[in-house]
């Protein structure tokens, strides 16, 4: 079976004066997948999404979104996408209902009043329907933003940092919605600064750095690149060098010492290194072991390792 791509870009470039925001971005987002776009601040995440949402024109390169050429057929792209982000906002001077009805009209959705009421209900905003959006809390505002981009069901949904600044309950609500949309076949391109969010939602992750794709893969594949972290905590500081020697020998990697003077660990990519084996070897060497662990890497580790800077 051939894979179809909802978003496919080749060599996208964008400059803002002296700043070279995108330097040849090649992106392939599988249809129906949730793709997490990650990268340090200034990597070009937002520029990439703005380009693909037709809000910016690329200086070079090409892209197809939902099968339509980004530049030549921007109008068709706009009919196929939804955008929720830091920039694409609702009108604070209109009520929630007025906002959604307006967007429904502009999308030529039949029965704009009903569609607005339906979405307000679905996003728990029915009671606030006739209040000005400017009076909404951060979480309500974000739900209204998301509802606005779903007035007509988009083939591709762009979510730019959809949960930044939200409390955990609101964040979980947004996550549930994203999962439902994905289950319904909507392709989602998500940027986030929360790696946990990408881990929770994304099927594929694209790490971008300095305007280019640095690495792509599933969360598990990316974590496998970095390896696990084997760690030992000793009861007695004097036993630390002995523990370090064992870990060095097992992992073949440079041991790292914690500031507490009791903890040593190292990265391992050896799949045969299990926790029982780690404990056995340390014990056999006479290390007074308090605690031992082999931790799965987080996406934070991946991030640090692959881009050299924290998320």
């Amino acid at each position: 079976m051939t894979t179809t791509y909802a978003v496919l870009s080749e060599g996208l470039e964008k400059r803002f004066g002296a700043v070279h925001a995108l330097r040849g971005l090649d992106l392939a987002v599988r249809q129906g997948a949730v793709c997490g776009l990650l990268g340090p601040n200034g990597a070009g995440k937002t520029t990439a999404v703005r380009l693909l949402a037709t809000l910016l024109r690329p200086d070079a390169g090409s892209a197809r979104v939902a099968g339509h050429d980004l530049v030549r057929d921007a109008a068709a792209v706009r009919r196929s996408i939804g955008v929720t982000g830091q920039y694409a906002s609702v009108d604070g001077d209109l009520t929630g209902h007025e906002n959604l009805r307006l967007f429904a009209r502009l999308h030529r959705v039949p029965g704009p009043n009903d569609r607005a009421a339906e979405l307000l209900g679905r996003f728990g905003l029915a009671e606030a329907a006739d209040r000005k959006a400017a009076t909404y809390s951060g979480g309500m505002r974000r739900r209204l933003d998301l509802a606005a981009s779903l007035v007509r069901r988009p083939a591709v949904l762009f979510l730019d940092e959809p949960t930044t600044g939200l409390d955990p309950a609101s964040r979980n609500g947004i996550w549930d919605t994203v999962r439902e949309l994905a289950a319904d076949g909507t392709t989602v391109l998500l940027t986030t600064q929360y790696l946990e969010e990408a881990d929770q939602l994304a099927d594929d992750i694209v790490l971008i750095d300095r305007g280019r794709v640095a690495r792509t893969g599933s969360p598990a594949e990316l974590k496998a690149l970095v390896g696990r972290y084997a760690q030992a905590v000793v009861a007695d500081r004097d036993a630390l060098p002995k523990a370090a020697a064992v870990i060095d020998q097992l992992t073949g990697a440079e041991p790292q010492f914690d500031h507490d003077g009791h903890t040593v660990g190292a990265v391992t990519t050896d799949p045969t290194l299990t926790l029982p084996r780690l404990v056995r070897e340390l014990d056999a060497a006479g290390v007074p072991l308090l605690d031992a662990s082999i931790r799965q890497p987080t996406l934070d580790d991946v991030f640090l390792r692959l881009t050299g800077s924290p998320a």
């Binding site: 949402a53 910016l56 706009r78 009919r79 955008v83 906002s89 009108d91 001077d93 307006l102 999308h107």
Partner: protein, 258 residues
């Protein structure tokens, strides 16, 4: 074309709803010229000697046009606010006719202006201003005023899309307050030194003001004025059409520009 009309009506409806939901700014904007009429009318009116001319009757058309020129500020502020708050980008990312957003804003503004001018006219009548010409000429005057307002709003929208920030638009808008001061809106230009008079009379506001005074029968066209003031009706139409022809396509392009 029908797409443009449908989207434009939706956009105009949006602007009108905003005014209805938050009428404060619109009311304040309309209070300003009423205050100026009372203030200028009685303070300047007492100091300015205008033979054969009641100053307040001279002032009302001037204030009407100065208020219409305020469309630059209003248009700029609204466009900058929408851009700044991300509303413009929401529309840009949707299948909305590119011209509908600026056009809808300018058309809605005309409706608001028409309603908002009523208090100024009523206070004008109360302080002695009258329509002294024919009803047809008065209707023509209103038409010229609205055409000029539309032109000014168009200029404002383009500038607002350029500045993109509410603060910058506010600052820049305040500086447009001097435009009517350099025209015959508040004072006759006849007594100004030659170069200043020329400058004031080539200010579009002067042509429209003179046309209104002529059509309302408040004051005659002054002698020896520059061409747009000497031919005020044609001058007003030409100024407005030129401003619209230049700035509307610029605003639409700017709106669609990425």
């Amino acid at each position: 074309m029908s797409e443009l009309v449908y989207d434009g009506v939706a956009m105009a409806g949006r602007q009108l709803r905003r005014v209805r939901n938050s009428p404060g700014l619109a009311v304040l904007t309309q209070l300003m010229p009423v205050n100026m009429l009372l203030f200028f009318g009685y303070v300047f009116g007492s100091a300015l000697a205008m033979p054969g001319q009641e100053y307040r009757s001279f002032l009302v058309p001037g204030l009407l046009v100065a208020t219409a020129a305020g469309g630059i500020m209003t248009g700029m502020f609204q466009a900058a606010q929408d851009t700044h708050r991300g509303v413009t980008d929401r529309f840009r990312s949707m299948p909305v006719s590119r011209a509908a957003v600026p056009l809808g804003q300018a058309v809605a503004d005309l409706v608001v202006t028409t309603v908002g001018t009523v208090p100024l006219l009523l206070v004008g009548l109360a302080v002695g201003w009258r329509v002294e010409g024919s009803a047809a000429a008065a209707a023509g005057a209103v038409g010229l005023l609205l055409l000029f307002r539309f032109a000014c709003t168009t200029v404002g929208i383009h500038l607002g899309l350029l500045t993109r920030s509410e603060e910058a638009a506010g600052q820049l808008g305040a500086s447009f307050f001097v435009l009517p001061l350099l025209s015959d809106a508040y004072i006759p230009t006849g007594n100004l030194p030659g170069w200043l008079r020329t400058l004031a009379e080539w200010n579009p506001i002067s042509a429209v003001t003179t046309a209104l005074r002529d059509l309302f029968g408040n004051a005659p066209v002054p002698d020896g004025a520059a061409w747009p003031v000497a031919h005020p009706v044609l001058g007003s139409v030409l100024w407005s059409v030129v401003l619209i022809a230049v700035f509307l396509p610029l605003a639409v392009r700017r709106y669609g520009h990425c």
